[in-house]
């Protein structure tokens, strides 16, 4: 991972080349609260967790 991090330092997309990267479709986490609510539903019905954002508390016991 450190090698990749180091390699990434060589990668430079200049500000004037960021037109497409600035599109909401290209932005990670751009789906906000609606995605958080979906993650909450799925997390309560699967045994897995994480690597996709943080959700609220509660056990979903019932």
């Amino acid at each position: 991972m450190w090698v990749l991090c180091g390699a990434s330092a060589c990668v430079t997309v200049r500000p004037e080349e960021r037109e497409f990267l600035a599109q909401p479709s290209m932005t990670f986490g751009s789906h906000g609260e609606s995605q958080a609510q979906e993650v909450h539903v799925l997390t309560n019905r699967e045994a897995s967790f994480g690597a996709q954002g943080v959700t609220g508390g509660g056990c979903g016991c019932n």
């Binding site: 330092a9 430079t12 599109q23 609220g56």
Partner: protein, 407 residues
């Protein structure tokens, strides 16, 4: 009383919105996000449905200090099997499932400070439901490097939760414990109720990288340590001679790694979105998740997204579909989510940013967006049965509506 409580929350949020609107005229940026989801899972006599409204308000002053607050509720009802695999159950257990209803409320408040290339945010969340209480603290640090082509984010969350249970003597063996049949008396000091702690530590690191003008990736590593009561106090499992409240290990360590990529397809004016995740925990659950999506810009401000998701997991080491014949050591569970299972999700989303007028505003707002989303879910529980009856409620939908306003 509940209605008054809700009215008070809405009133407080409305007052904060009006205040922040006033503040926004003094140079601060304010945004409000109101989202509501409807979830329904049905089939046979078992079902669950929930309505999840949420409101989040965020204000940033002088591009340095951000204050945010939010409220979310889950209004849930359904029917579930109280004693899993009881003799003579099967269809009867499903058709005579226990009806239940509950509400969960969470309130969050936090503060952030940011410079041009770094930010630090802290928040506190309080959650309450009839049988559960939670206090959560989160701290997130973020830094942008290499002309903003690289972003690192690290977060730590600490949870102090309590689960209501039937008060049962410490000397009692797990196989003698009875399930909780109602939340009445929970967190009210009743003599026959106990409040069992659950401590959570959650760590997450994210690396987001722009590789070219049309390709970006995001790597996320998560870890979580849980210590405390992690079973469903309402559920019993048939063990051969009697039923006992399900009994899970008190310790669990969970790890996951996710990798996402986004590729802009210039001729189509759309983005291809790929996501994969692997997960493992000390209960020996392992899973993979794969998601493929395509997001299309229709016209400026209007875009839709189609996606498909596949999920597959192994069962927990102590899971058995029949503890009377095939026990798995000292632990036992009636939780279908701890069995080997898979699921499919297919859905779509449409988002519309209202176009600004000549003054650059959308009416009284600096910006206004509407979101509608729909997902269809199919679960496969091939290794889990209620007696001899397959899981009937193996289909679900999630429908979401939201609006985002900036002042």
């Amino acid at each position: 009383m509940q209605l008054r409580w809700h009215t008070r929350i809405v009133g407080v949020l409305a007052a904060i919105t009006i205040t922040l609107s006033g503040v926004s005229t003094a140079g601060a940026q304010v945004s409000v996000d109101a989202t509501t989801s409807y979830f329904r899972e049905s089939g046979g006599g078992l079902k669950t449905q929930s309505i999840t409204p949420s409101v989040t308000i965020e204000g940033t002053a002088r591009d340095v200090v951000t204050l945010f607050a939010g409220w979310e509720a889950d209004i849930v009802s359904g029917a579930s099997v109280a004693v899993v695999d009881a003799p003579g159950s099967g269809v009867d257990a499903v058709t005579s499932a226990t009806e239940w209803a509950d509400q969960r409320h969470t309130a969050t408040a936090g503060i952030g400070i940011q410079s041009e290339r770094a930010s630090l945010r802290g928040s506190y969340t309080y959650g309450t439901e009839s049988d559960y209480r939670s206090h959560g603290f989160a701290l997130t640090a973020r830094a942008e490097l290499f002309e903003r082509n690289t972003t690192f984010e690290v977060s730590y969350g600490r949870g102090f939760d309590h689960v209501c249970n039937l008060l049962q003597a410490d000397a009692q063996e797990p196989v003698d414990r009875q399930r909780l049949d109602t939340a009445d008396g929970c967190f009210e000091g009743a003599d026959n109720r106990a409040e069992l702690p659950l401590d959570l530590h959650t760590v997450q690191g994210t690396w987001t990288q722009a590789w070219t003008s049309i390709l970006a990736t995001q790597l996320t590593l998560s870890g979580q340590v849980l210590n405390g009561y992690q079973a469903n106090p309402y559920r019993s499992v048939w063990l051969g001679r009697a039923a006992a409240q399900e009994h899970h290990p008190e310790n669990r360590v969970r790890y996951s790694a996710g990798l996402g990529a986004r590729l802009w397809l210039a001729p189509l004016k759309g983005a291809l979105q790929i996501y994969g995740r692997v997960y493992r925990d000390t209960w020996n659950v392992r899973s993979v998740t794969a998601e493929l999506a395509y997001e299309q810009v229709v016209v400026s401000g209007l875009r839709f997204r189609l996606r498909g998701r596949y999920y597959d997991q192994t069962g927990a080491s102590f899971f058995s579909d029949n503890y009377a014949l095939f026990p798995r050591g000292q632990y036992f569970t009636g939780d279908r989510e701890l069995s080997p299972m898979s699921s499919w999700v297919a859905g779509g989303r449409i988002e519309y940013d209202l176009p600004p007028g000549d003054d650059g505003n959308v009416g009284p707002f600096a910006g206004f967006a509407l979101v509608a989303k729909f997902d269809w879910i199919k679960w496969n529980f091939d290794s889990f049965r209620y007696g001899s009856t397959p899981v009937p409620n193996d289909r679900g939908i999630i429908a979401t509506l939201g609006l985002q306003a900036r002042f």
